[in-house]
């Protein structure tokens, strides 16, 4: 029996119908008002899973919030899980929540589409029916729908109400893509004032003011802002607490048509606004190496934070430190204005006249609708000498400073001396000259050798002729005295020619020389015998036969000597 009961219970749970409901409340709203979308699943046993990415015309402001409800009715358990979102429509007209895919556990369901009609707020006065439902809204307005790029646009959020509000809170500010923003005004309390829209009396309060500076040109959209409004409920006041109900509302979407700035001549750009520029310096007469404060003041209307002067080319004689920038913004004005001071500390490193150039500020004048350049007068400083050595902290020497502002010399148009890249260090010409000089070094030595060689060969030629020459002077026909003296002369001549000398020799000298040269004792003895007879011929007469015989002998001996020499 127990078993049967448990089966019944299981069946009751298992087969009880899962019901999925999708509901929207209210279905008729004004632009910017929120409604609640609820998805609930009964008997599902778990939370439904919904994909809301198909909602193109609505924005999810908050959610999902979950709630669970369980009941026993007549012994049957019903469970209800629901999810709810707060949605705000993105546009006006008859909108549709499309078919939603809802998953509960393993099962999937499809919802029916729901119609939501969004009414235009501007027409609400004509529709008496809507009047009662519309009690409050916020409106976003801009002061200029087609500004120039960089021109300030003031965005104002105003809350309008007809009922007693207990609270107001900004839920979500848009990201303001395409703008440089600055908050101008954000009150902590609502300051409601009477305001008339058509024939209706409203109470209005500015809830926020923003200064927007478009950073690009073209159409830029400002997304709606969403806020939560608490409304006191009538008749439900207790002594201590006033009960209130919260509503989520959103502003309208705005779109700006940002005009591009005309091109500047120099191609640079500056800021937009109305500016004045001035410079201030304490004293024009200072000493070298003394610090000097140079103040640039820009004041006027526009984006004060981004306004800047054009690059300043301080002369190199001045050491320049990073400037200190102070911005003073005028408070409580709709247009951002104020003054910006740029303070440079300058230290002149050289004495003499130093000129601080004129400071230029390029901006787009909104009144004139064209680019303007405002500039200051240049300031001539009279720097007295310090007495101390000039410091080189700029990193430039005096010589280098003198070179500043000079231009390079003009191109060299003379005929270039071409050569090969990486031509060898020692060129062919060098090698040739080197070899020539080495040759020159050996020339004197070679000349000497060749001359002595020449001398030698000349002597041998003469020596070769010595025999013939000495034979030729022999006297064959004559007395013995003549014959023997000719023999002596002939031998002496033979020797002189052989030795390349010019001397007179005695007979003994001749003999010893012959003996030395020929190494033949027999030969020298024979010659000695003839010479001895010649020496003795003046004292002891020699027969003609004998002398003639000696002539023939000496011829043979000379020949023999010539061969042995």
């Amino acid at each position: 029996m127990k078993k049967l009961l448990s089966i019944f219970i299981l069946i009751a749970i298992g087969f009880s119908q899962i019901q999925v409901k999708v509901n929207a409340d209210p279905k008729t709203i004004y632009e910017g008002d929120a409604f609640t979308l609820t998805v609930s699943a009964e008997n599902g046993g778990e939370m439904p899973n919904v994909d809301l990415s198909v909602l193109r015309d609505f924005r999810v402001v908050s959610g999902p919030s979950q709630s669970t409800n369980m009941q026993w009715i007549n012994g049957k358990m019903t469970s209800s899980y629901s999810l709810s979102w707060t949605l705000i429509p993105k546009k006006v007209g008859n909108l549709r929540i499309p078919i939603l895919n809802i998953n509960v556990g393993n099962k999937s369901f499809k919802s029916k589409p729901i119609k939501i009609s969004v009414l235009d707020r501007s027409k609400m006065n004509n529709k008496s029916t809507a009047n009662s439902g519309q009690k409050f809204f916020i409106e976003a307005t801009v002061d200029n729908k087609s500004p120039y790029r960089g021109e300030q646009v003031t965005l104002t959020y105003t809350l309008y109400t007809k009922t007693d509000l207990s609270g107001f809170d900004i839920l979500k500010l848009p990201r303001y893509q395409g703008f440089w923003t600055q908050e101008l005004y954000s009150p902590s309390n609502l300051q409601l004032k009477e305001a008339w829209r058509g024939s209706d009396k409203w109470y209005a309060s500015v809830v926020k003011k923003m200064a927007l500076f478009p950073t690009k040109s073209g159409e830029i959209k400002i997304d709606p802002m969403t806020a939560v409004v608490g409304v006191r409920e009538k008749g439900r006041r207790s002594f201590f607490f006033s009960s209130s109900k919260e509503f989520t509302i959103a502003t309208n979407e705005l779109s700006l048509n940002v005009k591009a700035l005309p091109k500047t001549q120099a191609g640079r750009s500056g800021s937009v606004g109305k500016w004045n520029i001035s410079t201030k310096i304490k004293s024009k007469e200072i000493k070298q190496d003394e610090a000097l404060s140079f103040l640039i003041t820009i004041n006027g209307e526009g984006n004060i934070k981004t306004v800047d002067v054009q690059d300043i080319n301080f002369p190199r004689e001045l050491e320049v430190f990073e400037p200190e920038i102070n911005i003073k913004q005028n408070e409580l004005t709709d247009k951002i204005s104020g003054s910006k001071t740029i303070e440079y500390i300058l230290i002149p490193r050289y004495s003499g006249k130093i000129i601080i150039p004129s400071i230029k500020l390029l901006y787009f004048d909104l009144g004139l609708k064209k680019w303007r350049t405002k500039s200051t007068k240049q300031i001539a400083l009279d720097v007295q000498e310090n007495g101390a050595l000039s410091s080189t902290s700029i990193g430039l020497t005096k010589k280098e400073v003198a070179l500043l502002d000079k231009d390079i010399r003009y191109s060299d148009e003379s005929e270039p001396n071409w050569r090969r890249i990486n031509s060898p260090l020692v060129s062919k010409l060098v090698i040739i000259i080197f070899i020539l000089s080495i040759i020159l070094y050996f020339i004197p030595g070679m000349l000497h050798i060749s001359r002595s060689r020449l001398d030698e060969t000349k002597g041998s030629r003469i020596a070769k002729k010595a025999y013939k020459k000495s034979i030729s002077i022999l006297v064959e026909n004559g007395n013995a005295e003549e014959i023997y003296s000719s023999i002596h002369k002939s031998l002496n001549m033979f020797m002189n020619l052989k030795l390349n000398k010019e001397v007179e020799r005695s007979s003994i000298e001749i003999i010893t020389k012959i003996q030395k040269q020929s190494m033949d004792n027999n030969l020298s003895n024979n010659i000695k015998e003839i010479l001895d007879r010649g020496d003795a011929v003046r004292f002891a007469p020699v027969s003609n036969e004998k002398s003639k015989n000696d002539i023939e002998n000496i011829k043979i001996l000379l020949k023999e000597l010539d061969q042995k020499w």
Binding site: K406, P416, W418, R419, R420, I421, S423, L425, F434
Partner: protein
């Protein structure tokens, strides 16, 4: 006049071997420079360099074109190059000092003593190649004088010979110094605007120093992608090869 120059130069080039087309390129570069088309002038001059021909005048004009294009590193490189071939090129010296004003890094060196200054001035009067030429020419002169003296017995030449020998020794020392310096020191100019030198030839090692374009540095070592350099103040670090142009 220009025509005359070009005709002469074409004749010259036949004698020395440079292609007439390169001469034309050079003339084109000069013309573009005077017309203010510095980019084209740079292109033409660099093209000649790519064909392996150089001249001090070319480097000087290339430097001017780079200067006008506000490419500091290029102009410094070209002027330095001009001065290595022709150290006494006055205009290049002047323009180099102007270009150097734009270099961010300034490394101050102490002033040399006066005798070293003189020595350097003399040494920088000619390039090493010209010093070698001078050496060989004076060697030749000595040999010639000696030969004349010995063969023609002109002993009075001996004193002139001695003077030249002293000169020759001085030049030889100078050449030796310059040669050793050129062997051990190759130099380069930083070519990228900002270069970080690392302690090792890779990007993971620690950063040593940041240098800027136009700075002249010594190159100690070379590998495939990296160059080991020494700054004038002695700091040593590695940078990428593409960030430097060798002189």
């Amino acid at each position: 006049m220009v025509k005359k120059i070009s005709i002469i130069s074409i004749l010259f080039c036949f004698a020395f071997g440079i292609h007439p087309q390169l001469i034309e390129k050079y003339q084109n570069g000069i013309d573009s420079y005077s017309n203010g088309n510095y980019q084209l002038a740079i292109q033409e001059f660099e093209d000649i360099l790519k064909h392996d021909w150089e001249s001090p005048e070319l480097y000087y004009n290339l430097g001017n074109a780079y200067y006008r294009q506000k490419l500091v590193s290029g102009s410094i490189w070209a002027y330095e190059k001009c001065l290595t071939i022709f150290p006494s090129h006055k205009d290049a010296q002047y323009n180099l000092s102007l270009a150097n004003l734009n270099v961010v890094d300034k490394i101050d060196l102490p002033d040399l003593p006066i005798y070293l200054k003189w020595y350097e001035t003399i040494r920088n009067y000619f390039s090493l190649q010209n010093w070698i030429k001078l050496f060989v020419i004076s060697l030749f002169l000595i040999m010639l004088l000696m030969t004349i003296r010995k063969t023609l017995y002109q002993n009075w030449l001996k004193s002139i010979e001695n003077i030249i020998i002293i000169e020759l020794i001085l030049i030889a020392l100078l050449c030796g110094h310059s040669f050793l310096e050129s062997k051990s020191n190759s130099e380069g100019i930083i070519y990228s605007p900002v270069v970080i030198a690392y302690s090792e030839p890779n990007e993971y090692s620690s950063k040593i120093v940041e240098v800027h374009e136009g700075l002249k540095v010594n190159i100690l070592d070379n590998n495939e992608d990296w160059v080991n350099l020494e700054l004038l103040d002695g700091t040593i670090g590695w940078i990428l090869k593409s960030q430097i142009r060798e002189l």
